[in-house]
Subunit: 514 residues, 2 copies
């Protein structure tokens, strides 16, 4: 049926959506969420139908994603037909029914996801089914491979190519800012791509962006890596494993994460990694709660690595408090830069050299940890970080005090003396976000204490940084109500951990950072 | 944050959606599919956020559903805040995790569904979790009650109030056109509400609409029932159990139907039914495949009925071929009218008097089946049907030949002689829909044979009716490729039932009719 294009000049969040009125939809035999094939001149695509009661007759409403791809102008005629259901939907339905999927079926689903042939409803049902039924390792392998095949790849023609990834879960984890230059300074290649924060206060891309540009093209990344052996860039615009980004969109509101393994490993494969360390912050308040859980997941990562031709080792790290003291993009970048200069917090230096050490040993060096420490202490890591900053278009001479922090500041002090018994990762993140992080890069939290430390009444527990006074005020209020840090002279004085129902409603704090 | 309203003048299929640009969303701390609270003067509501890259800064885009409810004009300032996650989402997540839900939790979910606080992604995940984990009878009861509470009800102040419902599955099921007047002629109240076709060739509302208006208000229904004891109206606009309509929207593309029981029974409860017969067409090619399945489902219906204070009996009926000969709104209405006049197909008269007989016995009559047959034969059912037609605003004197059928007609003949071994319900429906049903009311199929009947080479298998010659042509083509009727002199001559992969791709034929 030939319908007049009516351009909406709005994006639909990447979705391919076409709008029809009731009558036209009925004539086409199309229901809401059915698919239509749109043809204009030589271009055609599949869109998902939304039915709008008041839409003009004989018109098809096109969001920008569709009209741009068809290259059609307002009022021009578009051929609209009911489309066959995509093959991938059948396999989605098979998964809902609990069936293990074959490799070709998984590939078909992933292709239909990337081609935008599946609706959010269908994607949501798929990830829910994966979450409930579980995914077998053959399916995980097939998903990972299909996610690589349907995206871009980085071809560096180097070997080995090292990489590191944290499954996430603790605030303030700026390990990569130290680790990448340590590895690169050891003459090993490490093209690190990172994400931005989704639910956290800062992703590595957010942190590094306060030091230098991170939004590089594949070609620019190659140049930076050729020059310096490493990079610290944002992976989001590189189109590595684009299916994963679409899965994350529906996983986020559901707070489920069945695709953790293929999501992480497909991106490692896409950049050509040969040796990868997976960092698993573990413990109370982290994503992985117990050592047992960490072990189970670690063996899955190692198995998947073998199937993808990647040598994987896992580091189970202490995750019961933030790493270092700073939480928030600029604050963390400053702390990371200081640490390369020899002045950072001990836990950050320790963790970075631990993981770098494992990577160095995987690449054939002996005494990896010692070597990593030497590189850090010698100043080679700092020089390498400055090389990378410069190669990415930043100022190589940047000093810690050049990094712009929020000017609105406040201290939260303790009303009792005692020893720090716990620091709640999620609540610290909430306070930092309330202060404006990650969007307002100077905003965040600086802890004044860490676990086990003795502190006296009236002393500072944490400092809040914000760029705006309204945000500062609400972050202070939140910090005072959430009490993210627990103190006691002796553990036996604090027996009540929680009460149910809670006295205050907490915001959702699901960790989807990968 | 105060943002300028930008009205989109399009409906979003009932969804409450607000559009923000990236930067404004980040400042609000809002991600795609998060919720915002919109406030304008005294009005406020929760909307789900869609992020559009190219949307103007400091604006909030409002679809018609939102702008109408806020009563806001283009350019006016709307207060936009990040909203707390709705409580119902926690229970959706609990269901995903496999937990049985309590009554209050179910009610919270249903309220959030009707209040449009849950997105399609969240609804899809919920129904998927219900489908996979299963629903306990306590949950089914709670869902049914909550679906009634959150909708309109019909208060007739009569007792008993009878009703009948088919779980669907066979084409041409015009039983209600006979059954409602039989019951009403026995001086019993039967306020029958029906649906329109979703995936079938005609719903009862579509059929009856060719005889008289069906789109009545609650007040009009009361008048019709007061006058005639019965009605045959469309239930869709009455807002009975509106949650169900929203669940169906996401179940449809997934082809799952976990809410069958609460969906049907909540609507019966909402019209005040005290005695209900559930018709379960059973057999190959129907929704329910085996007698065993039918029994299991029947006991669930009966149990749920008890919990809702409704006396339920179930009729397992033969579902391996269409009922009567006619498939398509006008063709079926004509056949139904003819049957009340004494000239309809035997299977239709038989089934209608069977089910009417059960209802009569439930209401205290003896020999229900005999009484139903007497009412039908005596002409009382026809007179009652004409009363109802008139009360609903139609012509009481309508003759079968007054019902407008499609003028484009074709016969499909058989190339071999033989006995009818099978008639494929889904394929018959597909051919009728290809001819234009249910939108083009005169379109459809008239079978020329039924199961077991002997037919000679060159004789007619079925007749296709259409309103347009293009539709007729494609229905003929489909009928010839699908071969919806199987013939053989002896069963042992037709051993090959199917081949996989099939030679032709079939359209989705999931049955969501209730």
């Amino acid at each position: 049926m030939r319908l007049k294009a009516r351009l909406l000049d709005i994006q639909a969040g990447g979705r391919r959506t076409a709008i029809l009125d009731d009558d036209t939809a009925s004539l086409l035999g199309v229901h809401s969420s059915d698919r239509v094939k749109l043809t204009y001149k030589d271009a055609h695509l599949i869109a998902i139908v939304n039915i709008a009661g008041n839409f003009p007759l004989k018109c098809v409403g096109l969001y920008e994603e569709v009209s741009r791809q068809l290259d059609v102008k307002n009022g021009e005629p578009v051929e609209v037909q009911l489309a066959e259901i995509p093959e991938g939907l059948r396999y989605v339905q098979a998964k809902i029914a609990g069936r293990r999927l074959r490799e070709d079926e998984v590939r078909t689903i992933v292709k239909d996801v990337v081609g935008r042939h599946l609706s959010d409803v269908e994607l949501a049902s798929f990830v829910t089914a994966l979450h409930i039924h579980g995914i077998g390792m053959d399916e995980i392998e097939a998903l990972s491979k299909a996610m690589v095949e349907t995206g871009s790849t980085l071809s560096l023609n180097k070997n080995p190519i090292l990489d590191k990834h944290s499954v996430g879960g603790i605030p303030g984890d700026k390990t990569s800012i130290l680790l990448v230059p340590i590895i690169a300074a050891a003459d090993l290649v490490i093209p690190k791509t990172s994400s931005r924060a989704i639910t956290s206060a800062a992703g590595t891309a957010d942190r590094v962006e306060t030091l230098c540009p991170v939004n590089l093209t594949v070609e620019e990344i190659k140049e930076v890596v050729d020059k310096t052996n490493g990079c610290l860039v944002w992976g989001g615009a590189l189109d590595l494993a684009p299916a994963d980004d679409l899965f994350i969109q529906v996983e986020y509101p559901l707070a489920i994460d069945p695709l953790l393994l293929p999501s992480i490993m497909s991106k490692k494969k896409a950049i050509g990694a040969t040796h990868v360390v997976i960092d698993m912050p573990t413990g109370r308040g982290s994503k992985i709660k117990t050592i047992g859980e960490a072990h189970a997941l670690a063996y899955d990562f190692i198995d998947l690595g073998k199937r993808l031709g990647i040598d994987v080792q896992c580091a189970v790290t202490f995750g019961e408090q933030p790493l270092g003291y700073a939480i928030g993009p600029a604050l963390e970048a400053r702390e990371g830069l200081l640490a390369t200069m020899g002045n950072g917090p001990a836990d950050l230096r320790e963790k970075a050299t631990d993981i770098a050490g494992i990577l160095l040993e995987m690449a054939g060096f002996k005494n990896g940890k010692q070597r990593a420490e030497d590189i850090l202490k010698s100043g080679k890591a700092e020089r390498k970080l400055r090389e990378i900053i410069e190669a990415q278009g930043g100022n190589a001479k940047i000093r810690p005090e050049d990094i712009k922090l929020g000017h609105k500041r406040a201290e939260i002090t303790t009303e009792v003396s005692g020893r720090v018994l716990w620091i709640n990762n999620k609540r610290i993140t909430q306070v930092a976000r309330e202060a404006g992080a990650p969007k307002e890069k100077g905003a965040g939290v600086v802890l004044q204490v860490k676990l086990g430390q003795q502190i006296e009444r009236g002393e500072s527990l944490l400092e809040i940084y914000a760029e705006r006074s309204t945000k500062l005020a609400s972050a202070i209020e939140l910090a005072e109500s959430l009490k993210p840090i627990g103190l006691s002279k002796r553990p036996e004085e604090t027996m009540l951990i929680d009460r149910i129902p809670p006295r205050i409603a907490h915001r959702k704090a699901f960790l989807l950072e990968r």
